[in-house]
Amino acid sequence: MSPSFLKISNLSVAYEQVYALRDFSCNVEEGRITALVGSNGAGKTTFLRTLSGLLEAKQGVIEFDNADITYLPSHKRVEAGLTMVPEGRLIFPDFTVEQNLKIGAVSKRALGQVEDSLENSYKIFPKLDQRRHQLGGTLSGGEQQMLALARGMMACPRLLMLDEPTLGLAPLISDAIFEMVVHLKQIGITILIVEQDVNRTLQIADNAYVLENGVSIMEGTAREILTDPKVRESYMGI
């Protein structure tokens, strides 16, 4: 296991001239769940969007598997095995469930096994199987999140980045999503997760970073962060 699976060094990102992320460094270890927590507007989404190539870094270096990917276009990152399940899901509303899944396997690394992946998705998410010919835009919030997750899996990722996967979902469905994340780790996929449910996220995570106003204020094992009195007070209301 290489310690520098995904390594971010001194990353800064800005909208126009306003910095949303400053001098942030972090390590995502292979095979682990790394959590990123912090209040609204802390810069978590900005970070994930930069990792997937939707935003450009102002400064800093992103290395994946020892290759510098800081300025690589998005599709090449997917090609390398880096996939994001974005905040707000961003599924394709005018595509059927099946088309949404198929387009998830558009990159070369995934295209060869698209039929297997499809079958696998339907096995993991029987709900999607029932609705394979329904338009994405007509699914419920929970179903859309399942679809976004399944679409991400279609790319055969080595690292899956999840941005608030349980936001706005009923507790029962959130449970299913957290179980799914643990399952993904068990089948060997590295996870980087951003979540507002700090408590539950830290319980399933291995390592964690706390972000505040675009700056990292704490890092450590998830257990350390979970038991930190300041974190408990600020993010869990305990």
Binding site: P73, T83, P93, D94, V106
Partner: protein, 296 residues
């Protein structure tokens, strides 16, 4: 009244409809994938028509061959404008947000330049050539060989294009890009390449349609503008960025125009087309079929 039900008129409506469907599909692809308002779109029809005219009168090459040349030349223009202008604008977030307005001005200028160049080279005269002008009779329908050929070739190419967009992975990627740019990037679509291909493809099929038109009608440097207008009416009718809706709306406008003109007279053509345009904008701005919202 029975002339309105004549197969003759139906054939005319289908010819116009198929050509409109092709031309507006080109415009819709370019708008849908990049939000470029190409008001020079009809000038591509003109360029395609002149390619066919020159090929026929100077090189003795028939339009059924030169239409592919027209497609290539217009496709090349698409590639050129992508490489010279749009690639840079589309890859910069700040410029991207103003691209729709800017593209309108840019293409307007381009349209003026193209038309003036065409007048300079070919004069403003209307031109044409004789090709398959003998009358063919099929049942009750009498039409020139050229028009029959346009109908058949136009229908085959339309079917091929629709099939490609619907069932190929590349068509799926284009459709994805039309729906959401960020989502397309994160699933691994090479957005840059799909954008470039849409411009090449959209310009190309429009040039091809222009070559077909030159078989039936006299051509001139300013022939493009009515096609620009019709194409915009069609893609708004079908829902901006909705390829399938636009295609059907193209057929529909062809029928409305041909039947409308048959009922009134050719001088009413623009009143009809612009009238439909205004009515849609008032009563169904999201288009007849579209749910309307295309996410950026």
């Amino acid at each position: 009244m029975d002339s309105l039900l004549s197969p003759q008129l139906l054939a005319a409506a289908m010819i116009t409809g198929v050509l409109y469907a092709l031309i507006s599909l080109g415009l819709n692809l370019v708008y849908g994938t990049m939000r470029l308002l190409n008001v020079a779109h009809g000038d591509l029809v003109m360029i395609g028509a002149y390619v066919a005219f020159i090929a026929f009168s100077l090189l003795n090459i028939g339009p059924l061959v030169s239409m592919f040349g027209a497609a290539l030349i217009c496709g090349f223009l698409g590639w050129l404008s992508y490489k010279c202008v749009f690639q840079r604008l589309l890859s910069n977030g700040q410029l991207l947000s103003r691209l729709e307005e800017n593209s309108l001005l840019l293409f307007f200028a381009l349209s003026v330049i193209i038309q003036n160049l065409a007048i300079l080279f070919f004069s403003a005269d209307r031109r044409g050539y004789e090709y398959l002008s003998a009358i063919v009779e099929i049942g009750d329908v009498r039409l020139t060989g050229a028009r029959l050929t346009v109908l058949i070739v136009g229908a085959v190419i339309s079917a091929a294009v629709v099939f490609f967009l619907r069932f190929s992975l590349f068509g799926l990627a284009m459709n994805a890009l039309i729906q959401n740019r960020d989502a397309s990037a994160i699933v691994g679509i090479n957005v840059d390449r799909v954008q470039m291909s849409s411009l090449i493809f959209g310009f190309g099929i429009t040039g091809l349609a222009g070559a077909l038109i030159s078989m039936m009608e006299p051509i001139s440097p300013v022939m493009g503008f009515p096609y620009t207008m019709s194409a915009f009416v069609i893609i708004i009718l079908g829902g901006l960025g909705n390829l399938w809706g636009g295609f059907l709306a193209g057929l529909l406008l062809g029928v409305l125009e041909v039947y409308g003109v048959a009922l009134t007279g050719p001088e009413w053509r623009s009143v009809l087309v612009y009238g439909i345009f205004v009515l849609i904008l008032i009563f169904r701005p999201q288009g007849l079929l579209g749910s309307g919202k295309t996410a950026r």
